[in-house]
């Protein structure tokens, strides 16, 4: 029941927030509830057995019997960290939005909790239809978050976001239904369970687009690629990011984009191994192009938030590259980079939100000399910048290093591209940092009528956990990688014939011992 509580408690919280009588304490309530949710996820983390590659804490029962659709969720080394990332970021986001969200506070927090349910559900669901329900549900609260609390062009941005991502995923639904019929053909019993999908042998013919596996592969891949988003399907992202309020940007960059890369890891690569391998060049190519393109476009942005948004396109390109390298380094690096990006880019958006609250502008040219006015803010911003450009000892380094290692092993030519991206990343971030924090004081900073205040205690409390994570993940990557190792290795080694076993609680260690004995 623990996973179900993790998924559906936020939904209950959303209701609680909505009916809460006092609007001035609703923030405290929401913060408390989100911390409860985080503690619950820590409890799951403690129970999790890192030695097993199987699915743990599984909950499974028939939901729609006619079609073999199950209520089916479980956790493994791949979803574990993404769930923790979600629950970790949520209290931080709520605290960060303390003073920036002043209207319809109840609605905002309710949307936040519904979104949490949808995201965690997406990461834990192991039945295709069940997964699809969460996947689509996540659009609705995000749509409201951008549309109600966003900037001037919020409506354009939010409708574009919704339609883009919805359009991407409709073909996935058709593919899911089709695969349900394939399970019926294979076993006589219709099923939408991921484990049954893994067992399918879907015919694949190389060289043609119209082979069954290729078609299904692209139906799924399109949905995930738009969510990631890969070049050239990324155009909704800068719009959504720029118009979204700070918490919206953080959750979008921090978690929602990972739903796409997670989709590749959980669904596309193991379900369609031959097609994935055959078309890997395409995805590595668009990954590499995305890295360079995102970086180049980021470089010329006058708006600092848009700069970070384009840097996301660049960073997500790395993840794609790592995943389609199909080796342990690349996969582990891809997963690590998902977490890194969630923390670093999330933190960047929070920092930008803080300075925006003070000056109501995000134009780089209007800043300058911020370092002398806001020393504390500068320090935090600097640390996160270093993490974002992957300086050693920060989390970003570990991820990019592993990805590049994996890519060199698999497809060196793409790695050359990617390395260029590392340099470009340093260029645009450091250049931006220089223009914002050093040099002549810009018009916003020099404005004597409105002196800028440095970070207050709440804001420091928001940033400290993120900075701690930056160094923790940078200095002790094995604390994190070890928990995913078994699952990643299992995926890499059995990619063409992938399967997952369900591990009964308490028996995980003994199974592993037995396997070791063989």
């Amino acid at each position: 029941m623990i996973l179900s509580s993790l998924v559906f408690l936020p939904l209950l919280f959303a209701l609680l927030v909505m009916v809460w009588p006092k609007s001035n304490t609703v923030r405290h309530l929401a913060l408390g509830l989100s911390v409860i949710e985080f503690l619950l996820s820590l409890a799951i983390f403690r129970q999790y057995d890192a030695n097993s590659a199987g699915l743990q804490m599984v909950e499974q029962f028939m939901w729609i019997e006619r079609f073999g659709i199950q209520y089916f969720m479980g956790i493994d080394g791949i979803s574990l960290w993404l769930v923790l990332l979600t629950t970790f970021l949520t209290p931080i986001i709520i605290l960060a939005s303390w003073s920036s969200i002043t209207e319809r506070v109840k609605g905002f927090h309710a949307a936040m909790f519904v979104l949490q349910t949808a995201m965690i559900g997406t990461f834990l669901a192991l039945d295709a239809v069940f997964f699809y329900v969460f996947w689509e549900l996540s659009l609705v609260p995000m749509y409201f978050m951008v549309g109600i609390w966003g900037g001037a062009r919020r409506i354009y941005a939010t409708v574009k976001f919704f339609i883009y991502t919805f359009a991407g995923s409709v073909m996935m639904l058709v593919a899911i239904i089709y695969m349900m019929y394939l399970t019926q053909e294979a076993t006589g019993q219709m099923s939408a369970s991921l484990l049954d999908f893994y067992k399918l042998q879907i015919p694949f013919v190389g060289g043609t687009f119209f082979s069954l596996q290729t078609l299904l592969f692209f139906a799924f891949a399109l949905a995930f690629a738009i969510k990631v988003p890969v070049f050239p399907l990324h155009t909704w992202l800068p719009d959504a990011h720029v118009e979204a309020p700070t918490p919206g940007s953080v959750i979008l960059a921090g978690v929602m984009l990972k739903m796409g890369t997670y989709g590749f890891m959980r669904w596309v690569i193991p379900l369609f191994p031959e097609a994935s391998e055959y078309w890997a060049w395409l995805f590595m190519l668009i990954g590499a192009v995305g890295i360079i393109y995102g970086a180049l476009v980021a470089m010329v942005q006058p708006d600092v938030k848009k700069l970070v948004a384009y840097s996301s396109v660049s960073h997500m390109g790395y993840i794609l590259l790592g995943l389609f390298a199909f080796n342990a380094y690349g996969m582990a690096g891809g997963l690590y980079q998902m977490l890194n990006h969630g923390i670093s880019t999330g933190a960047l958006f929070i920092l930008i939100g803080m300075i925006y609250e003070r000056t109501h502008s995000r134009e780089i040219s209007k800043y300058g000399g911020l370092a002398s006015a806001l020393p504390l803010f500068t320090i935090f911003f600097f640390i996160i910048t270093l993490s974002s450009i992957a300086v050693p000892m920060t989390n970003g380094f570990v991820g990019e290093f592993l990805i590049l290692l994996g890519t060199f092993q698999a497809q060196p030519e793409f790695a050359y591209f990617a390395v260029t991206g590392v340099v470009l990343g340093a260029v645009y971030m450091l250049w931006m940092f220089k223009r914002v924090f050093f040099g002549e004081k810009g018009e916003l900073v020099a404005d004597e009528h409105h002196p800028l205040h440095d970070l207050n205690a709440r804001e420091i409390a928001v940033l400290v956990p993120l900075v701690v994570m930056v160094f923790w993940m940078g200095l002790f990557p094995n604390h994190f990688l070890d928990f995913s190792k078994a699952s990643i290795d299992h995926l890499v080694n059995n990619r063409t014939n992938y399967n997952l076993t369900i591990v009964e609680p308490g028996t995980a260690a003994s199974t592993q011992a037995a396997q070791g004995g063989n």
């Binding site: 939901w63 729609i64 019997e65 006619r66 079609f67 659709i69 239809v129 699809y132 329900v133 689509e136 549900l137 659009l139 609705v140 749509y143 409201f144 549309g147 109600i148 919020r154 409506i155 939010t158 409708v159 919704f162 339609i163 919805f166 359009a167 409709v170 073909m171 639904l173 058709v174 239904i177 089709y178 349900m180 019929y181």
Partner: protein, 487 residues
């Protein structure tokens, strides 16, 4: 058919219709006895609703099991029960709205309710008819009452125009239908669907006359359920009618028309004629595209819903085709029924909220009128959001599961491309379903809510919204129950 064959079982089977008929007489009789003075509208409404509840109860108790009545003229099986219940419930909800909407309350409420009840009797005949002439009788009884209803309660020009348009085109459709029936009679010597159930697939190939008749019968239905290119009347009539009538037509009328359509298609005539099969597939695709594309351009809320209902007819036609070509037929048919169940709930709900925005008889509601609605009436705005998201097919609402089951049946029968088109055109649909939500939540303004409170209509909307969300979670058992009743 002679009198001797009519027994008690026939009477019991048609008891829902008898009950409706008897109850429908009460309000107008009371009016006559009271020297042409209206009784309190609430009393009239309660009588009508009691009648509907009784009819639904009788339908559940005595119907089902594939029993036939009146010399195989009527059949009482799963389709009859489910479609009948959906239609009657929608009709009831429509009457609740009639009670409160400014354009339909007034001096002639008893007559209005009498007509609505008569129309409902026609609907019950239509869902159970297996003789093409019975179908015709049901169709006409339902439609004649509607022509009057649309025209009578409104002083406005638009409504007269709608009434006339609906009357002329409706009669045209009936004539085409009847023409088709004549051809079928000419080629088979009978009009009972059950008689040519087994042989229709061959007849379509061997007899040009039968094919001709079948085509015309199908055309008649295409008119009734607004399949492209026979949909042109829909937006005008939906917009011109008082909103409760629009709700009545969009849900109850559509449901029963599809029920009769299903019965004709279930003869497997599509299996025999490839051309008919191909043409219907294309009509489904075009209907989805045209309905959705036209809905994008609408500013008028009711017109938008009208075009969206055209698009939904396209989705439903996929199910009808599936039922026609699949071996059991039950799968596709239950997809249609389930879809109609969801569609009924969300359309009634959306129109109930539109009805609340109507200040006067001549009030035209544009989408922009909703601006600020979320601040003034957060609860109702949330309900409307649920309806729109459900119409768009976003999980976990009932609308999503409706599409899921419908497309599932289509893919199961190898009609993959229809499902693909359906999904693609639902992407277009998302665009216009989001617009009212944008206006409600994201634009400043003062939504003009009618001065008098519409309590019953509000309750209807809230109940529908709750049902849409909750039934989404238990859609599996509902679908299984529908399918089991058809096997």
């Amino acid at each position: 058919m002679n009198a001797a064959t009519i027994g008690l079982s026939d009477i019991l089977l048609v008891s829902p219709m008898l009950a409706l008929f008897l109850v429908s007489l009460i309000p107008i009789t009371a009016k006559v006895l009271r020297n042409n003075r209206e009784q309190h509208p609430l009393v009239t409404l309660s009588q009508a609703l009691i009648g509907i509840v009784i009819a639904i109860g009788l339908l559940i108790v005595f119907g089902g099991g594939g029993k036939t009545a009146f010399n195989n003229g009527l059949i009482f099986d799963g389709v009859t029960q489910w479609m009948g219940i959906i239609a009657l419930a929608s009709a009831g909800a429509g009457m609740v709205m009639m009670y409160e909407n400014p354009s339909t309350t007034g001096k002639q409420f008893s007559e209005l309710i009498f007509l609505a009840m008569s129309s409902a009797i026609g609907m019950l005949i239509l869902v159970s008819a297996v003789d093409l002439l019975m179908v015709f009788i049901g169709l006409e009884l339902m439609s004649l009452a509607l022509y009057l209803m649309i025209g009578m309660s409104h002083e406005e020009k638009l409504s007269k125009e709608a009434s006339l348009k609906y009357f002329i085109l409706g009669s045209f459709a009936s004539a085409i239908f009847l023409y088709g029936v004549a051809f079928i009679f000419g080629s088979t010597g009978g009009t009972n669907i059950l008689n040519f159930m087994e042989t229709a697939a061959e007849l379509v190939q061997s007899s040009r006359m039968f094919l001709f008749g079948m085509t015309f019968v199908i055309l008649g239905f295409c008119f009734k359920v607004s399949i492209f290119p026979f949909h042109a009347w829909t937006p005008d009539v939906y917009q011109g009618s008082p909103t409760p009538h629009t709700a009545f037509m969009a849900t109850a009328v559509k449901t029963v028309s599809f029920a009769a359509f299903l019965r004709v298609i279930a003869t497997k005539s599509l299996v025999g004629s490839d051309h008919l099969f191909d043409i219907l597939q294309w009509l489904a695709v075009l209907t989805m595209i045209v309905g959705n594309a036209a809905a994008i351009m609408q500013n008028n809320l009711k017109r938008m819903i009208a075009y969206s209902s055209v698009a939904h007819s396209g989705y439903l036609l996929i199910g009808v085709i599936t039922a026609g070509v699949s071996d059991s037929g039950a799968f596709g048919a239950s997809g249609v029924i389930f879809y109609l169940l969801g569609y009924g709930l969300m359309t009634i709900g959306a129109l109930a909220i539109a009805s609340m925005l109507e200040k006067s008889e001549n009030h035209i509601i544009n989408i922009d009128d909703l601006s600020g609605f979320a601040k003034q009436r957060p609860m109702l705005a949330l309900c409307l959001t649920v309806f729109l998201l459900s119409l768009a097919g976003i999980p976990p609402t009932l609308g999503f599961f409706g599409k899921f089951y419908l497309f599932n049946a289509a893919i199961g029968e190898g009609l993959l491309w229809l499902a693909v088109w359906g999904m693609l055109s639902s992407v277009i649909a998302v665009y216009y379903y989001l617009r009212p939500i944008v206006v409600m939540y994201m634009k400043e303004g003062n939504a003009e809510i009618a001065g008098h409170s519409l309590n019953a209509t509000t309750v209807t909307a809230v109940v529908m919204a709750l049902a849409i969300v909750l039934m989404g979670f238990v859609s599996g058992p509902i679908f299984a129950a529908v399918e089991a009743s058809l096997l």
